[in-house]
């Protein structure tokens, strides 16, 4: 019996020893109804080692009590993942870690300010007359101040110790040194007042200084942390746009599955009012889609079969089925989030000066504090020691390297986030800085200023002069080919081409139900046109340069016809058969609605606008005139665009090139700022410094304006941060005392220091309200 009892006790003890029960709250994502609560609770409770689990739908959290020896955070994650939910650890959910740190900081600030206030009540002239006797006792003040110094201010000591071990210093070192000097002096005065009296030093402690300075600086940090949270709101908003589930059609059945499980090729149904889960192409149905959250475009976009849809946008009216083409990290939203995050992690060149100053700042402030102490001690008024001590402490406390460190990155973070809300994706802080200096913008014509969907407007048959007469014709009795003949041969040839104009011709042939012929020896001649053998004849289709190259004459009447078409802003393609010009095809690409306003906005802000195109000068000028552009670079071969951009740069201007990012990549890279119009759902364009999701020309001037406003805020911040230190450190050292008798109190210094960082961040946050 005794043995049994002992065994049972042993077991109990072992069990108690092995149990490492912890209760933790995790963020739980993916819940969309109250029933999810039960599903998650059940899943978590089934994990061996979990003793209790409570899920809160409103706060999207799960509070789990579990034995750390028997299960891990990963086991908990796996348990809910099976049902399509995501349990986030603190690392995955940094907000939770930050929240805990802030809660602790808040407690410390409250205790610090409370105790500091009691010490001030018991020691500050005038108000101490109304204080209870106990608060006037130095030993009571010592007790209260010690709590502030070593509990509230413990983090300053921890950082100071680690930093000094590495022979580096930051602001915490200054605070620890300053407050320790005040506290140490006060302790000595409390215990050995007679020693100080013998030295002609008033034995008055400065416990109030040490306690209030620590508390105010921590209060500043609390305010700073709150303000800083606002700088990363853009990313949180973007992440929050993601859909949680998708209604996938598999095996004839529609099932709601977590977004993570959607695969490329899945057919997804989207009903009115629902979020489109991932990127794809509509295969059935039509609707209007609100894409404002991703592209910044406020008007819903009509979508029908074969149109692309973007994940995270909202289906407004109809129901449709679409095929997923991009999932996970490949979706447009994921790319946008990545680009914004990367830009926020980059450094602006303007930050270099602040970086250099920051690296020397703290040790130099320490040296100034030493000089201040020595100066006041030797040549200052009596009592020399307290003056010397207090001024040196004030110098240490008032110095604020943080404001310099925060001046640029906080503004960049808000600026880049703000730009993303307008559908302007800025690659990095350097691009943001460069945009404000742009003085000339070169626009590529096709697909940038124009819609990039050219249409055949005219087919002009010309009199056949040569053996092309032998061609298969609708009506061989007349001296020209018919429009359909021209279209048939031209479309047959263009079928193999990827040029935007080719698409217009083949589309026209399709509309007229023309069956195409076989093409042999197809060849594309960059910047000129194409050639091939159709129906046994050598056929060329291209611009004047192609005919010059092939030494084919253009008859006078054809010349006149070409000029008329070109003056109408149309691109004319010359069509030859066996070295004879037999027809003309005119193609027009309409200007984007935003082109004129976009150009106007740029010109208003003093930016020169230039259009670059492969079109001949007449067509180019006609289109440029319509867009309000005065300077045109026409007949530029694709490979020469880069050189033309450099030529504009040689004119002394900082140049931005706006193109589609694919054909213009070298020109975009050559420009000071490459701006690409996003194509479809691909926004991560390598050659571009800025990608415009909206394809709206107005976005170019918006990007420049936003850059200017961001840079203005950065300059204000830097001016404030530098000015603050340059002016207030000498004031703290007592430079005004000989002239005006002004000395700064260390308590005021700590308040100024605390507000200095907060004011820089608040100034950066102003950018959130900016309209461009």
């Amino acid at each position: 019996m005794t043995l049994v009892v002992i065994e049972a006790l042993k077991n109990k003890m072992n069990k108690n020893n092995s149990n490492k029960l912890v209760k933790q709250t995790f963020a739980l994502k993916g819940m969309h109804c109250a029933s999810c609560v039960r599903v998650n609770e059940r899943a978590l409770k089934k994990v061996p080692g979990v003793t209790d689990a409570m899920v809160n739908f409103a706060s999207e959290t799960a509070t789990v009590q579990y034995d750390q020896d028997r299960c891990s955070e990963k086991d908990l994650q796996e348990a809910v993942k099976k049902f399509g939910y995501a349990l986030l650890t603190n690392q995955q959910n940094p907000d939770e870690g930050k929240r805990k740190e802030l809660a602790k900081l808040r407690r410390k600030v409250i205790v610090g300010l409370g105790l500091g206030a009691l010490i001030v009540w018991g020691s500050f002239p005038f108000i101490m007359d109304y204080a209870p006797q106990i608060l006037k006792n130095y030993f009571v003040q010592l007790f209260l101040a010690s709590i502030v110094q070593f509990w509230v201010g413990s983090d300053f000591y921890k950082t100071t110790w680690s930093a000094l071990m590495n022979r580096v210093a930051n602001m915490d070192v200054l605070v620890a040194m300053g407050t320790s000097a005040a506290y140490g002096f006060s302790v000595a005065v409390t215990f050995f007042p007679e020693v100080f009296e013998r030295l002609d030093i008033m034995p008055e402690p400065y416990f109030d200084v040490a306690a209030i300075v620590i508390s105010l600086i921590l209060l500043g940090r609390l305010l700073e942390a709150r303000a800083k949270a606002g700088t990363s709101e853009a990313i949180k908003k973007l992440v929050g746009l993601q859909a949680k589930t998708a209604r996938v059609v598999r095996g004839g059945r529609e099932t709601d599955i977590p977004i993570e499980q959607v695969a490329v090729g899945d057919i997804i149904r989207v009903r009115p009012g629902e979020k489109i889960p991932v990127d794809g192409v509509i295969i059935e149905g039509d609707s209007a889609v609100d894409e404002s959250m991703v592209t910044g475009e406020s008007i819903p976009v009509e979508k029908q079969k074969n149109d692309p849809v973007i994940g995270a946008t909202i289906n407004k009216s109809g129901t449709f089925l679409y095929k997923a083409t991009k999932v996970g990290q490949e979706t447009m939203l994921a790319q946008i989030i990545r680009l914004v995050q990367e830009a926020q992690g980059s450094k602006a060149p303007i930050q270099r000066l602040a970086d250099t100053v920051s690296s020397y700042f703290v040790p130099i402030v320490m040296m100034i504090a030493v000089v201040t102490f020595v100066t006041w001690y030797i040549i200052g008024p009596t009592p020399a020691f307290p003056y010397a001590l207090i001024t040196a402490i004030t110098v240490l406390i008032i110095a604020c390297p943080c404001a310099m460190g925060l001046a640029t990155p906080t503004a960049v973070m808000v600026g880049v986030g703000k730009a993303a809300a307008y559908g302007i994706l800025i690659k990095d802080a350097e691009a943001l800085e460069k945009a404000q200096a742009i003085r000339a913008v070169v626009f590529d014509k096709t697909g940038t200023l124009t819609k990039g969907k050219p249409e055949v407007t005219d087919i002009v048959p010309l009199v056949i002069l040569s053996e092309a007469k032998n061609l298969k014709r609708k009506d061989p009795s007349v001296a020209t080919l018919s429009q359909d003949d021209i279209l048939r041969i031209a479309a047959s040839l263009e079928k193999g081409s990827e040029h935007p104009l080719a698409e217009a011709i083949t589309k026209k042939a399709e509309e007229r139900n023309i069956s195409l012929s076989k093409v042999e020896k197809f060849k594309a001649i960059a910047g000129h046109g194409i050639e091939g053998i159709v129906e046994g004849k050598k056929v060329l289709l291209g611009n004047r340069k192609l005919l010059e190259r092939e030494k084919i004459d253009i008859a006078e009447e054809a010349q006149e016809e070409i000029v008329t078409l070109e003056n109408g802003g149309k691109t004319v393609m010359l069509f030859t058969v066996d070295s004879s010009l037999v027809g003309l095809l005119a193609v027009a690409d309409t200007l984007k609605e935003s082109a004129r306003n976009g150009v106007e906005a740029l010109k208003r802000s003093g930016v020169e606008v230039i259009m670059i195109t492969g079109d001949n000068a007449r067509t180019a000028k006609a289109i440029a005139k319509e867009a309000g552009i005065d300077r045109v670079l026409a007949e530029v071969l694709p490979e020469d665009k880069e050189r033309e951009v450099r030529n504009v740069q040689h004119g002394g201007k900082i140049v931005a090139m706006v193109g589609d990012g694919v054909n213009d990549a070298p020109a975009l890279a050559a420009a000071d700022l490459g701006i690409a119009m996003g194509s479809g759902t691909d926004v991560a364009i390598e050659a571009a410094d800025v990608t415009l999701v909206t394809k709206d020309i107005l976005s170019v001037s918006q990007a420049i304006r936003l850059s200017k406003k961001t840079m203005r805020v950065i300059k204000q911040n830097l001016f404030w941060a530098f000015g603050y230190n340059v002016i207030l450190i000498p004031v703290a050292a007592g430079i005004l005392y000989p002239f005006f008798g002004i000395l700064l109190s260390p308590i005021l210094a700590s308040a100024a220091m605390a507000l200095s960082s907060v004011s820089v961040i608040t100034n950066s946050l102003r950018l959130k309200a900016v309209q461009v």
Partner: protein, 121 residues
């Protein structure tokens, strides 16, 4: 100038000399630590190790472990790789780097007070 003044003056000069030597003087060269596939950097009053060596074209997981409560160190910035990460206290935050160029790249805290180096060879 009495004796006490002289002592204070000499102590002040000595103090400035010490500060200058301590912070700006030649520090024991911190040897670059070979990162291999993964490395942990302790974040406490700076970065330990402060210099790590990576191989060009090789994926390396860098785990930042912040144990220092200072808000100065709550973010790490590796600007050349466009990385800015919040480091929750007493948590590990993994960053994967796959450098495609050689050279020396700085990383720092959010306020640019503490620094480290990544050498890519």
């Amino acid at each position: 100038m009495d004796f006490a003044d002289l002592i204070v003056l000499l102590s002040g000069i000595g103090g400035i000399g010490f500060i200058s030597w301590f912070f700006f003087g030649k520090k024991a060269a911190s040897n670059a630590v070979e990162a291999g596939n993964a490395i942990t950097i302790q974040v406490s009053g700076g970065y330990t190790p402060a210099t790590i060596q990576l191989q060009k074209g090789k994926k390396t997981a860098i785990s930042f472990h912040r144990t220092d409560p200072s808000s100065c160190l709550e973010e790490v910035i590796i600007a050349d790789f466009k990385i800015r990460k919040f480091l929750p206290l007493n948590e590990r935050v993994d960053i994967e780097l796959n450098p495609n160029k050689t050279g020396t790249f700085q990383f720092s805290c959010g306020m640019n007070m503490f620094h480290g180096k990544i050498i890519v060879k």
